[in-house]
Each structure stands twice: as structure tokens, then as C-alpha cells.
């Protein structure tokens, strides 16, 4: 097998558990969309063109007929603001990817394939083949399962009974473990978690993602500065 084929295959293998969880979430989202009156065509178009789970769940929650398109667009913008920082971070690792490919590839950037790309970049260069191996199965699965969910209707009427609603949280915890580098990571995670939970309980909408993430980053910056000062003091 060529190096690219191997990289692609590794991407598919790495993303497989995510696909398993995302299938269920996609089905669930499709059934919710159908219950709000969206046709299977509209459901599929939405999943393929937006491809952002959290934003789509929020949008369907706020859905009315006729669709309040401006309000929905603004809401989705807020939910997805985190992508700006994620894309900025990921673009640092795209040195090995032809520059004309970078902007189109970012269309497929979601939390999970982004996290795996970042993890990959900790140990080796991120390649086009690996990124496609992570991303294409996700886009296809998300779109197909959304449409199937819309067609199947309400068969998945109580996902909580099977723990499916917890699948994404469990998946993210699993991904997080790969970023663990010691107590400093713990401090970043604690700040992010506490601020996100408090903001979620006090401010409506999706600001908790942005503010929680920024709190974690702030702690990392503060710890970094302190360590530099200690190093400076230790030097006679």
C-alpha cells in the first residue's frame, strides 16, 4: 500500500468509534428534524451543507414554520464561533497540505476530526490523506443517518433509555485523555468545565462553549507566564 493509502486508512480507523457514536446522534437529529416538519430532502441538505452537530441541534430546537432564517443564521454563528479558534489552531499543522486544499478541507472540520488531527500533529506531520480518512466518513455518515432518521420518523423516541444521549460526552472524554500532559492540563480542564457549566446555567444560548474554552486558555496562559518568571528567578 502507498504511504497515502496507509495514512488514509489510519484516519478511517481512528475515526471509527466516532462514526459509531455519530450514527446514533445523526439518526436522533433526523427524527427531531422530521418532527419539526422538515422533509428528508431538507434534512439531508442541512446536514451535508452545515455539518455541525451542536449547531444543528440548537437550530432544530428553535425551528418554526416558516423558518426564521436570519435568527437561525445568527444563532448558528454563535454556536460555531469556536471554529474560528479551532481553524486557527489547525492551520498551524497544515504545512504539509497543498495550500489550495486548506480552505476547502476546513469545510469538513468538526470537533472530532479536528481533535484527532491535533492529536496526530503532536507526534507526526498532518497529511492530506489522514485528514480525508478522518473527515469523509464523518460527512457521509452524518448526512446519511440524518436522512434515514427523517425517513424512519420517531422509532428512536427515547435515546436516553439506552445511554445514547451520553455517547458524545463519553467520546469527548476519551478524546480528552489524549491531551493529558499532567496537572497543568487538569487546571485548564477545570477552569473550562466550571466556567462553561456556570455560563450554561446563567446565559441562554451557546455562549458557554466560547467562554468556557477561553477560560481554559486563559489559565494556560497564566500558568505559562508564571513558569517563565520562576525560570527567570532561578537564574542567578
Amino acid at each position: 500500500m502507498s504511504k497515502s493509502a496507509l495514512e488514509f486508512r489510519q484516519g478511517v480507523i481512528d475515526i471509527f468509534p466516532v462514526i459509531a457514536a455519530a450514527s446514533v446522534i445523526g439518526l436522533l437529529w433526523g427524527t427531531l428534524a422530521a418532527s419539526k416538519g422538515l422533509s428528508p430532502l431538507e434534512t439531508g441538505l442541512m446536514s451535508a451543507s452545515i455539518f455541525a452537530g451542536a449547531a444543528q441541534f440548537v437550530a432544530i430546537e428553535l425551528w418554526q414554520d416558516p423558518a426564521p432564517w436570519f435568527f437561525l443564521t445568527m444563532t448558528v454563528l454563535i454556536v460555531n464561533v469556536r471554529h474560528v479558534l479551532m481553524g486557527a489552531s489547525l492551520s498551524r499543522h497544515m504545512g504539509n497540505i497543498p495550500s489550495g486544499w486548506r480552505a476547502p478541507l476546513l469545510f469538513m472540520m468538526a470537533d472530532e476530526n479536528w481533535a484527532f488531527s491535533e492529536r496526530r500533529a503532536l507526534t507526526q506531520p498532518l497529511t492530506l490523506a489522514y485528514y480525508l480518512g478522518l473527515s469523509l466518513p464523518m460527512v457521509i455518515t452524518w448526512t446519511v443517518t440524518s436522512v434515514v432518521g427523517a425517513l424512519a420518523g420517531a422509532w428512536l423516541n427515547d435515546p436516553a433509555a439506552y445511554g445514547f444521549d451520553f455517547a458524545f460526552s463519553a467520546l469527548f472524554i476519551g478524546i480528552l485523555a489524549g491531551f493529558w500532559k499532567g496537572p497543568k492540563t487538569g487546571a485548564v480542564l477545570a477552569a473550562s468545565a466550571v466556567v462553561a457549566a456556570i455560563v450554561k446555567l446563567t446565559i441562554p444560548g451557546a455562549w458557554y462553549i466560547v467562554l468556557g474554552g477561553l477560560a481554559g486558555v486563559l489559565v494556560a496562559v497564566l500558568l505559562h507566564a508564571e513558569r517563565e518568571e520562576e525560570a527567570a528567578e532561578a537564574t542567578p
Binding site: A59, S192, L201, G216
Partner: protein, 100 residues
């Protein structure tokens, strides 16, 4: 197969907004030199954002979710395969919800 105009407008608006957020970072980074404190900030970004997304579920939903998250985290730190970690999380939350 129906496609309403207002729905189509909403989908186009949401898709454009989402892609704008995805691609903006790429252009921002052409003018930023990442080292020192900035690098520390970017390195902390992946875990901080992932944590923020799930924090309301694992901290502010119920005791069952919080304990299940702790069990899942323990499995993840033991380096179990990802799919096993996810299954342990799902089974834990179902059992804990029944117990509570």
C-alpha cells in the same frame, strides 16, 4: 420531497455562517507568529473547547451523569480503546440513572 423557500434560505444562511467560522482562522493565522505565550494558548485550546462543550452535560445535568463521566474518564486514562471507553460511559449512565 418538499423544499420550502424559507427553509432553503435558513439552510443557506446557516451553512454560510458555519463555513465562515471554519475558514476565518486559516486567514487570521497568516498574520500571527505563534510562539511563547501564544503557543501555550493554542496548545490549551483543544482540551479547553472539548471540555466546554460537554461540561453542562457532565456537571450540570445530574449526579448520574457526573459519576458516569468520572467512570468514563478513569477508563480513558487507563488507555482502553476508544469504543470501549464510550460503551463503558453509556452503560454507566444507564445503570446509574436506574439506581438513582
Amino acid at each position: 420531497m418538499t423544499l420550502h423557500l424559507s427553509t432553503l434560505l435558513a439552510i443557506i444562511g446557516m451553512a454560510l455562517a458555519t463555513y465562515a467560522t471554519r475558514v476565518t482562522g486559516l486567514f487570521l493565522m497568516r498574520h500571527v507568529n505563534v510562539k511563547g505565550r501564544t503557543k501555550a494558548a493554542f496548545d490549551a485550546l483543544p482540551p479547553a473547547i472539548l471540555m466546554a462543550v460537554i461540561a453542562p452535560t457532565i456537571l450540570a445535568t445530574g449526579i448520574a451523569e457526573t459519576i458516569a463521566a468520572a467512570i468514563t474518564a478513569a477508563s480513558a486514562m487507563l488507555r482502553l480503546p476508544m469504543i470501549v471507553t464510550v460503551l463503558i460511559g453509556m452503560v454507566s449512565v444507564v445503570l446509574l440513572r436506574m439506581a438513582m
